[in-house]
Structure formats: C-alpha cells, structure tokens
C-alpha cells in the first residue's frame, strides 16, 4: 500500500472527492499541508485576504454548483476568523468541509501560541466536527466529513488537524475508503408512501392552496420537480428568501417572495390559504411573523429532510413528510399521474382572481410607483440590473436593504442563481461569495449587490479578485448609511440614528477600486444609470465597482408589522394594511 504523510493524505482525499478548488490562508499549523498542496496539481488553491472570506468563497462556490466547498485555515486566529463563515453556512445548510490546523497534539490544552479549541468554538455551528487523533485515521475522517457535509440536510463539517498529524516524515499506508457507514447517521432516502398519498389527497382538496417553497428545494436540486408539480396543479407558488429560483421568478404562477419583506400578494395568499404545501422551508421567523397567528385556516403539508424542522415553530402541521424533496416531489408527480384526479378548477379560478386583485392593488411591479426623477431609487438599480443582465446573472448579495431590493426586484428563473446569507444575515458575505461563484462559472456574469456598509466588511478581497482575475461586478447601493438599521430607527426610534451614519468618512470607492487595479464608476444621475450599467457589464474581463448613489431615505416595503400575522403589512411610509 502507498505510504503518505498526513498532509499528502488530505490532498489526496480532496482529489478523491473531486475537489478542484479550495480557498485558504496559510499559517504555522498548516504549513505541512500547504507543502503537500504545493507538490500536487489536482487541487487549485485560492489565497484570500482574510479567513472569513475563504469560508464565504467556498460557500459561494458550493451554493452555485451544489458541490462541497472546501476551506483551509490555520490554527488560532485563522480558525476563529473562519467562524463567521461557518455559522453562515450552517444557518443556510451549505455543505462545506473546513480544514483547520491546530497546534501539535502534545501542546493541546497548554495555551500554546496560536492555539484555539476549534472543536469547542465551532461546536454549535457545525453539522459535525472531527479532531484528528492519529495519522492513520485521516482518510476515514475525510471520507466521513464529505459524506456528512453533503448528505441529508447539508451543513459545514470542521476537520481540526494538529500539526504533528501532517508531518512530512511520518508516512502511513493510505487507502481512501470507497464507502462510509455511520450507524448513528442514516438520513432518509425516500418519503413514506402513505404520507405522500395523504399529502396529495389534501392538496387536491384545496380551494385556496399555496405552494410555499424554500431553500431545501434549491439545495435538494428539486427545482425541476417542484416546477413540474406546481404546473400540473396550477397552484400559486411563493418562495422564501432562500428559495428564490426554485420556481421561475418570471412565471405568472409565481406570486413572489413571502415573509417580512415579501410580496403583498404572497403574504395575503398565505394568510387566506386553506391548504399550504411547504416544501424544504423551515417556517423561519422572517417568514411567519407571529407563529401563533400564522395562517389560522390553513391545513399544512410539510416536506423536509430534517425531522427537527417539522413542527419546530408552527405546530399545526397536518401531514409531516420526512424525506429528500427531490424524490418526494417526483413520487408525487408520478402518483398524481396515476390518480387522474384534478384540482377543483372553479375554486382555483376564483382563488387566482383574488390573488390577481392583490397583485394589482399593492404588487411590486405595478407602474412607476417607485420611480423618481431627481435621485436614483435603489429598486430601479435592481430593475436595470435585471434588464442589462437579461435576468441571467448570478446575483450575490450582502445584507441589508439592498439585499431585500435584490430579492424583490430581480426575477430569478433558475435555482442557485441567487446567493445570499439568509439565515445568519452576514454583512461582508457578498464579495467573497461572488469570488467562489465566479471561479465556478468563469463565463457567467456575476454581480455583487451590496451597500457601502456591507462591502467594507470584506473589501480586502478586491485584492484576491486582482490576483485570480475574477471579473465580478460590484453594484454598490450607496445611501451613505446603514440603511436597514436606519429604517428601523426611522420606524421605531423616532429617527435617532444611533451608530448608523458615517457619510463624512466614506472612502472614495472609485479610487479604492482603481488602487486594486479595477475599474471604478460613480453614478449619481438616474438618466445615466442604464448606460453606465451596460458599460459595466460590457467589460467582461474587469472587476467594475459601480458606486451608485441612491435615495438615502428610502425604506424597504412592504414589511410585516411586528407581532402581527402574515397579512399585516406596512405598505409604504404612509400606508398599512387594515
């Protein structure tokens, strides 16, 4: 059998797992691994400028491809810097393997230089973690790490490797396991046939149905199955923030995103629904508003791969269905074909009429409601971005008002096209995630929709973009303040902007972009927005930083009225639902 060092074993394991690219930052504890990395050519390493970005980039890579993202960081500060990235991936169920170095085994627990208890620090935010205790166990640990990360409900797995486990002179027999068996871990591979039948029966009884699809459909590669079933039924479909793209955003059957900043028609439909079909969604507090008032008349079917997601917040689930959404939806389509039962068309027509009424009344897409002439409106930036990119770009968002505008005003027709930190809400996510997306899709347009607040949280990655020629387009909605914080301060704190403004100390983003070797563009005139945007996307090989000055006082609407039900919404600065 082949003899390899621990460092070489890690690299070989990555190769065996089909990993082409990893994101990392070297340091003392991982130097042996980096030396092994240097001496092979199947895995490319992308050197980021901060470990948080390494994990976000691996995350973006994974979100846009469905493959496991891999990051490599050193011990101590390298590991703790990775924590935000790991928590981001954990909240959104993104499969990652994060390899962290640690001090040599005999120094663990001695407060050695750059020592951190990474297993302890990361414990609440990983799907699982491994501390490597012997060189021999490395192949098995790596195999398990990848298996756990990508199967069932995906998530990040940390592999913590003490430095002595990778010493080049310590060679051990290497054989990569072909299969993995964990007696304590067997995620459901199929849904229960009886429950599927029950779910379908309930769906067909509905007169005011809504299909509520979440990130699980995207992660479970079930968009096609969802679309087929939805079309067959003719029911309205709403997506969560994480589910955007699971059903085509430009389709008439799509009634928009739901939740806190969801579409009026989507939230009204949910509230009035008699049957809700929840697919790969977890009834997050940003969706449900007050769970006690959530959809009082709805009978609910809930499909999820994770049993713990079922009945966690909303308790009245009539048909729980544990299983991978892809196979469950495929089974439902097949069963539907055999049953030859059709939904109540008359009731459905009336339901669509009601929904279309809501759409006309307060829908996002009606007329010029948000268009002003003197200042650029943030919503218009997203509309123009949609037009200029033909709706085909990967949109990587940061966190804040711009994120909600990007979720509302760009129509995502494909899964994995929309990349954002939904669960954790991590500012600084957008740019590094976009790097991962761009590297995975070198020919595609990749835009970072961000704000002058978020972009400054990982702005050092502009340097990584230079080094690896990643021509991402940065669409900076500059309102010279932490917009979402300011909006809440407007709404609930009498306009007292505590710690949310910095207008006199913002950098000149154009010069900053140029300093990194990129193209900078300042846009203030609404009349020029579209031509400048076209110019930006015509520079296919360049990073372009579009610093777009938008109305600083704009709020994101509609918005749930806190503690209310799904239907209770603030519609504009002056209107609310009754």
């Amino acid at each position: 059998m082949e003899l390899l060092s621990g460092g070489e074993m890690i690299m070989r394991a990555l190769k065996e797992e089909g990993v082409k690219m990893i994101f990392g930052y070297p340091g003392g504890a991982v130097l042996h691994i980096y030396d092994a990395l240097y001496q092979q050519d199947s895995v490319e390493h992308i050197l980021v400028r901060h470990e948080q970005a390494a994990v976000h980039a691996a995350d973006g890579f994974s979100r846009s491809t469905g493959e496991v993202g891999v990051a490599l960081v050193t011990s101590g500060p390298g590991a703790t810097n990775a924590i935000t990235g790991i928590a981001t991936a954990y909240m959104d169920s993104i499969p990652l393997v994060v390899i962290s170095g640690n001090v040599p085994s005999h120094l663990i627990g001695s407060d050695a230089f750059q020592e951190t208890d990474m297993i302890g620090c990361s414990r609440p935010i990983v799907k699982h973690s491994f501390l490597v205790r012997s060189i021999e166990e490395i192949p098995g640990v790596m195999k398990k790490a990848f298996h756990i990360a990508k199967s069932g409900r995906p998530g990040p797995v940390v592999v913590d490797v003490p430095k002595d486990m990778t010493a080049p002179q310590e060679k051990r027999p290497f054989q990569y396991p072909e299969t993995v068996k964990l007696r304590s871990y067997t995620p459901a591979s199929k849904g229960h046939t009886g429950q599927i039948r029950k779910a379908l029966d309930l769906l067909l009884e509905a007169s005011r149905p809504v299909i509520y699809a979440g990130g699980g459909v995207v992660l479970g590669d079930a968009a096609q199955e969802l679309t087929e079933l939805s079309r067959r039924l003719g029911y309205p479909v709403t997506n969560t923030l994480m589910g955007l793209g699971a059903f085509p955003g430009s389709d008439d059957q799509f009634i928009g995103m739901l939740g806190m900043h969801g579409f009026y028609e989507a939230n009204q439909a949910m509230h009035q629904a008699d049957v809700i079909f929840a697919v790969g969604a977890r009834f997050d507090d940003r969706v449900t508003n007050n769970p006690k008032k959530f959809c009082p008349n709805a009978r609910i079917v809930h499909i999820d791969i994770d049993p713990a997601s079922i009945q966690k917040t909303v308790r009245h689930i009539e048909v729980p269905l544990v299983g991978p959404v892809k196979s469950v939806l495929a089974d439902m389509v097949e069963m539907l074909t055999q049953m030859d039962v059709k939904p109540d068309q008359k009731a459905l027509e009336a339901w669509w009429e009601t929904i279309n009424g809501w759409r006309e009344k307060h829908g996002l897409w009606t007329g010029d409601r948000y268009t002003r002439r003197d200042q650029i409106m943030p919503q218009d930036v997203i509309r123009v971005l949609y037009e200029v990119t033909n709706g085909e770009a990967f949109i990587c968002s940061d966190v804040g008002q711009h994120q909600m505008f990007a979720a509302q005003y760009y129509k995502y027709d494909k899964p994995r096209q929309w990349v954002n930190s939904g669960g954790l809400g991590t500012m600084g996510f957008g740019l590094p995630a976009a790097m991962g997306v761009q590297l995975a899709h070198p020919e595609s347009a990749v835009a970072v929709v961000t704000g002058e607040g978020s972009i400054q949280m990982c702005i050092e990655e502009l340097s990584t973009c230079t080094q690896y020629k990643m021509p991402v387009k940065i669409i900076n909605l500059n309102n010279a303040a932490l917009g979402m914080v300011k909006q809440w301060q407007d709404m609930q704190y009498g306009g007292r902007y505590a710690g949310s403004t910095y207008s006199d100390s913002l950098p000149d983003f154009v010069k900053l972009a140029e300093a990194y070797g990129h193209v900078g563009m300042k846009v203030t005139d609404p009349a020029q927005l579209k031509t400048r945007m076209e110019e930006c996307f015509s520079m296919k090989d360049r990073v372009v930083f579009m610093d777009i000055y938008v109305d600083p006082d704009e709020h994101v609407y509609p918005m749930h009225i806190p503690t209310g039900s799904m239907k209770d919404m603030v519609l504009s600065k002056t209107e609310r639902t009754k």
Binding site: I119, G120, R123, P124, K127, H128, S129, L131, I148, L182, R183, S184, Y185, D306, P307, A308, Q311, K312, R315
Partner: protein, 163 residues
Amino acid sequence: MRHIISVLMENEPGALSRVVGLFSQRGFNIESLTVAPTEDSTLSRLTVTTIGEDGVIEQITKQLNKLIDVVKLVDLTEGDHIERELMLIKIKATGTQRAEVKRTCDIFRGQIVDVAPAVYTVQLTGASEKLDAFIESIGTSAILEVVRSGVSGIARGERVLSV
C-alpha cells in the same frame, strides 16, 4: 412535564460536550445528567431529566437525534419505567440525634456506610422524590453534605434500548 430521556451515544471524546452544548445552545433545561460507558465499550449511555412542554420535548429528542454521535434514544417517561438515583449524605449525629438518624435511615431503607464520632454517612437509592423526602425528614440543619448521582432509568418489561 418532567421527562427522562435515555441516550445511547458513541463513546467518543467530545460526544458528551455536543449533547450538553445542545441543551444550553437551544435553551433546553437539564435537571440532572448521568453518563457512563455500557457493556459495549464503543457506546455510552446518558440519561437526562428535563422539564418542558410537549413541543419542547419533541424538539429535544429531534435535535438530539440529529447529533451524529447519538445512536439511539428513548423518552422513558412515555412508558412504564424504573428510575433510580443514588445519594450519599453526611448527617450530624450526636447525642439523641444519633438514634433518630439511624431510625429514619431504616425507614427509608438507607444504609449507614461510614461512621465518625459526630457524623453518619448514609447511602440511599430510589426515585428522586424518595431522596427528596429523606432530606426533608432529616432537616437541612442536620445535613452537612449531599451528593446525588442524577437519575438513571430503564424501561420495564421487554423493551430495550440497544443498537
């Protein structure tokens, strides 16, 4: 309601911290906790008593089941079961008190396992309420030290928790 949840988990370093961490992380409460290896050295058995409404208990069992190190678990309070807790208790025993402590100890079927001129150390086994009752009978002013093992439990009849 009080529940006794019995967990079989991998006898691996770190497994216990994952279970305990889960409880604090998700705001679940722990009344008592015991853990030791089983006859199969690769497995540990952990017993946790907790108090919560049905929804909370459902989440506790589901979230525990999600931990990779957890092999199997059962909520013992869902069926007939036996629960036991061991207590060692040091009691002031001087003068007339000495006979009184001995009598109380006999009533509760405890055993005096160590004797000093002014102190008895008593061992008592039973359900938690019995231990509470003994403490109450002795009275806190006479008690010098109490150590309780936490609850261990097992299902009655033929039901077993095994791999």
